[in-house]
Symmetry: C2
Subunit: 308 residues, 2 copies
Amino acid sequence: MTDAVAQEFQTRLSYVADATERMLDQLLSERALPGETFRPAAFLGAMRYASLGGGKRLRPFLLIETARLFGIENEGVLRAGAALEMIHCYSLVHDDLPALDNDDLRRGRPTTHKAYDEATAILVGDALLTYAFDVTADPATDADPAIRAELVLALARAAGIGNMVGGQVMDLEAETSTEPHSAEDVIRLQSMKTGALLHYAVEAGAIFARADARAKAALSHYGKALGAAFQVADDILDVEADEEALGKRAGKDAGRNKATLVAALGLKAARKRRDALAQEAIAALSSFPDEKAAILKEAARFAVARKN
Amino acid sequence: MTDAVAQEFQTRLSYVADATERMLDQLLSERALPGETFRPAAFLGAMRYASLGGGKRLRPFLLIETARLFGIENEGVLRAGAALEMIHCYSLVHDDLPALDNDDLRRGRPTTHKAYDEATAILVGDALLTYAFDVTADPATDADPAIRAELVLALARAAGIGNMVGGQVMDLEAETSTEPHSAEDVIRLQSMKTGALLHYAVEAGAIFARADARAKAALSHYGKALGAAFQVADDILDVEADEEALGKRAGKDAGRNKATLVAALGLKAARKRRDALAQEAIAALSSFPDEKAAILKEAARFAVARKN
């Protein structure tokens, strides 16, 4: 890593965050689309509350930068990134509900069910999830319907019972169990709950690019290692970080018998695993020219070095 | 209407209900699909509880019969019908939640959050909604990705903020208001909350058939009138039916200042509107040969004559 790459990474990260914010703002406007009857304004406000003004937009970033690795930069890629972010935001809104994680704060602000009410939060999640598929399937995302259909299928599969939702179910089960969780179980759970959507980000970039099987396999390897590294880093941050830095109650995972790799492996081994996974992600990109893949490699370093 | 048509309608209705049940059973099996990590078995059981063994499967019926109007009958159409039914079932599971309609019974059985718990019910809804897009976008549904992408877009738009979810939001708002609801507002709300998904059923059949613009417009008219007729009939049933016949608490709408057309128009005018809408739906199909459209016409009669 050079300072120039680290700086370009930060520039791209904030560019994508801004562009994603603008795209979400535009998509979540009051104007009804063809086939829609009416968008209730107050409820639209709640959808905007749940999705605008927050987060690093790491998932859109990975999607957009993977497409850019192949020279593809356009409005459609931004739309797919915003749709992916909607899926991420819906999952946060539903996970924060009283019946699930019962969190009052998210990114330092009241969670959606606290700022509004439970019914609104449930429906906001439903509407964001549904809209993500609308935006992805819309011809404005790509002229080629084969690309859109492939994106929808990959997104649904990453977000559904066999990955994200299934992982959330297992996470809740793990919490109510009094048994310690094996590292193997935690790794699988995390690959489902958070890894699959990060993997989709990279996969989607490759779908836009019509990447060949070899490039797709390399990127898939990168996406899986990155997703795993990101989640171990999260587990470690939860132990290390103080409340202000993280914007949510720190140490809460340990208090709940949450399935974390720090609990399963200990802090030292978890850090070692985190760093090894980041290196694995970087190595997976070795077949791409370094000047093109530098930003994605830096993203793997960032995923493990971030402080929140 | 002849007795022969009425009998064929019943035969087709129960054939489609059985075929949809089998398709849902097959789709909701434990076998993970490519890209999925693992399907947690107990949770899959809850998804099956929420979607198998109940209902008339009217939405798949309309989808399948519309495709059949153009001579199209295949596994893909059945898959799209099952996906549509998943959307319907997800909406029931979420609407029944304590924070929304707080219903304990559905089709004479405990609602999903009663049979399991609230967290499970929220996630079951999320997983069914997501899986509906997976099944629709899968190449097994149609070889042509343009058809799949168009189906996904139409389904998302019918189910999202501008229709189904938005209608549910407005329905909850209407309930907490002490003002009487105008017929105009109730009609718009119902066209969003329940009409749009019935309309999609017909639209999807036409998409599979690559119907021309004129046929699509006629079917869209049919779908809208049928959807409206179905919902007025529901409002009337709620007033008329006794608990056993309906399998849910009868008269509950009136007790809650629910936005219903019986409340807005009175029972007599509501019945008149219901019958006029059914006739409108039937008339919309006049450009199709009667022997082909007879089943869809009968469906309009059925929608208003049903007792539950």
